[in-house]
Structures are given as structure tokens and as C-alpha cells.
């Protein structure tokens, strides 16, 4: 008897200890031969500001706008944020800002409005800009969108490991459970849907007060959030999610005093790279640029 060639088991990634640090360092079942391909470095800008979140928990919109501007100028090596947005968005684009409304930890209106302002600065009429989450399939702006901006917080998730930028597009399919198989391994396939394919111009991972640990299958407990005051921004959603995942593992290690892999493994991020070729998950191939508040940056 012999093992079938297309079978992927735990033994494969135990043997593949030399594979991307991602899988081995954080418990992801990433297969060595699936990540071996050469990729161009994907840039991710992590910008933090200690004043992004006030002591009462309120988000400072002015600070957020400044952070977003810093992020895009660093991302695209330009001085003027509006120039960056003009390179991303054309005045005749119809722009959907895909948000996330989970009431405990939403994208926040401050982030949505900061993005919207810059999209308008790029020349897009307000009537051609939509912000939505669960209603995207019914939203006329999203149905005819020519450009998407993807923005959401990262949080732990009982079935996918983390709620990620990749996962944020699940509402673009009328049947989200189609992507639940094997701890949401196929989430990268979402990005091949005609309604989104090739339209995403920017990904913004909100890391203001991330939920790094979940109690029970679905509960939110503020105890397991912390003020990080960050945004991770990039053109490559896989790379940005990979950075977020590293941050979560670092925070869990700090908080619990030892390795505490995310369960289930957030392998949809690695598979988005190796199987769906959506971007880069390997940290060694990600150009991480860190700006702003350094204390407690963790990664």
C-alpha cells in the first residue's frame, strides 16, 4: 500500500520543516512544495498611532485619516496620498468599500470615511461610492463596481482561525457555507468570483483593538482585546493577512506565556497563496514596512 500523491497529511508538513516560516511557526499546515515557488516581495505597511484609540475606546477619525495617508504613501513610494489614490482609482470608477459590520468589532465608520474621502479626492462622485457588508449582493453600487477597497478588522474565528481580509469577501457569494469546508480552506476561491475578480485596489486590515482569542465557539470578550492602534495596508490581501496572523501569534505568546497556536489553523491564508495564487503568505517574501508608534509593536 502506498500513500496517494494528492493527499496532504500532518506528516507532510512535519517533514517540510524547511518550508515557509508561516506554517511551521504558527501551526499552519502549509506544505513545503506548495510554497516553494518564487514570488515577488509583497509590500505591507503597518502603521500605528498611540492616539488612534482614546482611553474611552473612541476612534479618532483625524488620526485614522493620517494613518491611512501614511500607509498609502509608504506603500506606493509617493509623497502625496491623493496622488496614490489617483493611481489606484479613476474618476469614472464605481467604488465599493467592503466593510465589516460585526457589532463587537466593526471596520469602524472612521476607517470607512477616511477611505471614502480619499476615493472622492481621486475624483469619484459620491453617488458612485458604496459602503456595505452583508448587503453587497443587493447593493447596486457593488453589483456594478469597477473597483473595490477591502477593509475589516482581524479577529479570531472558531471555524476559519481568523476573520481575515480574504474572508471578508464571503458575502459576495449567495451561499457562504460553500466555503466552510475544511476550516474554510477554500476562501481564496472567493476572489475568483466575477463580482470581485481583479477589482480590489487596496486592502486595509484594521488592528485598533484586535480580538486575539475567542471564548467558546463564537463569543466576544473584551478581556482578549488590546489597544494596538494599527492599520496594515497593502495591495496583496494574503500578505496583509499573513502579517496580521503573525501579530496574533505574537500577542498570544506574550499573553499566555508560551506558544498558543490559533485553532483551527488559519490555513485559508496559506492556501490563498499556494492553491489560489492570490498573493504571498510567506513572511520571508513580504516587505513589511513599519511606521509610527513602536512600543508593543510585537512583530
Amino acid at each position: 500500500m502506498s500513500k496517494k500523491n494528492d493527499l496532504i497529511t500532518r506528516r507532510d508538513f512535519v517533514k517540510g520543516a524547511s518550508c515557509a516560516a508561516l506554517g511551521m511557526a504558527i501551526g499552519l499546515p502549509v506544505i513545503a512544495n506548495e510554497v516553494a515557488k518564487e514570488v515577488t516581495k509583497s509590500r505591507v505597511v503597518l502603521v500605528r498611532d498611540k492616539y488612534a484609540v482614546a482611553s474611552n475606546g473612541k476612534i479618532n477619525g483625524e488620526v485614522i485619516q493620517r494613518m491611512l495617508d501614511q500607509a498609502v504613501t509608504a506603500l506606493f513610494d509617493r509623497k502625496d496620498p491623493v496622488d496614490c489614490w489617483k493611481a489606484l482609482i479613476k474618476p469614472d470608477d464605481i467604488v465599493g468599500i467592503k466593510s465589516n459590520e460585526w457589532h463587537y468589532l466593526p471596520t469602524t465608520t472612521q476607517v470607512e470615511q477616511a477611505i471614502k474621502k480619499r476615493v472622492m479626492d481621486a475624483g469619484v462622485l459620491e453617488k458612485n461610492i458604496g459602503i456595505d457588508d452583508r448587503g453587497v449582493l443587493r447593493n447596486p453600487i457593488f453589483r456594478k463596481a469597477t473597483a473595490l477597497i477591502n477593509a475589516r478588522p482581524m479577529r479570531t474565528h472558531a471555524w476559519s482561525g481568523v476573520g481575515s481580509l480574504i474572508k471578508n469577501y464571503i458575502m459576495f457569494d449567495p451561499n457562504p457555507p460553500n466555503y466552510h469546508e475544511n476550516a474554510c480552506a477554500p476562501l481564496g476561491k472567493l476572489w475568483e468570483l466575477p463580482i470581485v475578480k481583479g477589482k480590489t485596489r487596496l486592502n486595509v486590515l484594521v488592528l485598533f483593538t484586535p480580538l486575539f482569542y475567542g471564548v467558546g465557539p463564537h463569543h466576544f470578550d473584551k478581556t482578549y482585546t488590546w489597544v494596538y492602534g494599527g492599520l496594515a495596508v497593502g495591495a496583496d490581501p494574503v500578505a496583509v493577512d499573513s502579517v496580521g496572523l503573525r501579530l496574533f501569534q505574537a500577542k498570544r505568546k506574550e499573553y499566555f506565556g508560551g506558544e498558543r497556536p490559533i485553532k483551527p489553523a488559519a490555513h485559508h491564508i496559506a492556501f490563498a497563496d499556494t492553491r489560489y495564487h492570490l498573493g504571498t503568505s510567506d513572511p520571508s517574501k513580504i516587505d513589511l514596512v513599519k511606521l509610527g508608534w513602536e512600543e508593543g509593536v510585537l512583530i
Binding site: 500500500m1 497529511t9 512535519v14 472558531a158 463569543h219 470578550d221
Partner: protein, 283 residues
Amino acid sequence: MATEAARAVPNEILDWKVTDTVETYDRESIFDYINGAGEVYRSYAFRDVTVWRFSKPDAPDITVEIFDMGSPDDAYGVFSHTRESEESGIGGGYEQRGSVLCFWQNRYYVCLAAYESTDDVRQVVTMLARIIAQKLPQSGGIPNLIGLLPQEGMVEHTQRFFHIHASLNYHYYLAEQNILRLSDSTNAVLAVYEPGTTWLLCVEYPSAQEAEEAHGSFVENYLPEAAETGVAMVDVDKWVSASKLGRYVVITFDAVSRARSTKLADAMKISLIDANLGTGNDQ
């Protein structure tokens, strides 16, 4: 909504009052309530969940959820899915972490949660949980297979009860494919043992033939070098064994030695035999 669940929830406790909005979600609509995490419940025989919200001016709301899991085994199973500690005194067992308290009782899995964990909230959550537990049906023991796990060397609170492949991968990532042929019709238990971190998995199949086929699939796809002996070292000081006994497949992962691997598997099989299971006469 099950009447007995509705009867178990009071209209008020201390100064928290239940709001008018009581919602019920079934196997299909649960995604409207908790999106993808609903799959955790659907991996068991979950029927529905009813949700109550208690509010008090200038205090965090408290949410009460009563999940009808279809059977006591599955109520225990979903409780065991994420529990890291367990205390007795509420239901069949409970865990309180931060502002969330969950317990299981009979076929119900009950969670009480608040946005913030203040002393007041923790006190009222505990009190409310006790009231609900008193009113729900009392009976409902742990799954038979959980009771048969060898006790010697078991790490506390690591026992899990589940049915499907995705649940196994949650606790111990085995393979992307379902090489053990787990399904809604299989019952599986998993626990961690010392020394080291040895995992013991025991799966009950509907028939001895299905167990044999699953065992064959596992050996073929995961442990081909152990086709004859049933045990092999897969990495440095990590031994895996696989054996079958009637309707049961017993596997140990990551044991520190061959002897430890087979000894733990043997202890499980002795438990099955002592319980008159696994002999082929229990079908």
C-alpha cells in the same frame, strides 16, 4: 423553541430585565446569528438556539443562549470543543472565562455572555446560570466513550467528543482529506496524555466493516510503513500506532516511544472490552 428551555429563563434577575426580543435560529438560519462559527454547532446534532438579552441601565447587556444539541452526548461534545478548564456545580459541568460562562446539561448547551467582565456582571451571570440549570431537565451523563478513556496520565480537561473530520482537524490536524472516514454516524473521543504530548483517538463506527475500512484507509494513507506492525516512528520521538477492535479504531499520535504508544492503545482497548464493547458482539 423548546418549551422547557423557555421555561428555564427568568424574566429578570437583580436589576437586569429580559428584553422583548427573543430570537430562535435553526440549523439553516444559525449563520444569520453567528456566521461561519455556526459550523461548530452544525458539526453536532444541533437543532436550534434561542437567544435572550437582559439589560440594565448603565450596565453591560447579558446574552443568554440555549442550544438544543439534540442529545446529551452532543451537548457535552460542543462543551468539550473549546473548554480549557471545567468546574462542577452548574449543569453537567461549566467553564467561566472572562465574562462568558458556558455549561451543558441534558441535551442543552447554555452560554451566558456580557460585553465586559465586571464583578457585578460575573455575579449575575453565575446566578442566572444556576437558575437556568435548576430548571432544565437534570439527567444526561457524559458520552460512554469519554468514560472509557484511560485515566492514567491523562491531561486534565483535554477530552473531546465529536463526530466529523473537521472537528478532528480542529483539535489535531491530521490530514486535509477525511482519511479516517469520519461522519455524522461516527463517535470519536480524543484526549492528551503525558509523558510528552501523546494523543489518544478512539473512533466508534456503525459497523465492524466500516471500522476495518477506515483503519485500512488510515494505514494506507498515513502510516503505510506500519501495515504489518501497526506502529511506526513518524518523526523524532513521535510514534504513531493504529489498531482496530470490532467497531472501534484506536490510534495514538506522537507518543515518546513505541512502548508508550502501544501501552496507551492497549489500555483503551481493555476499557472497551471491559465494557463489553469492541468484541464484535455489541452491534
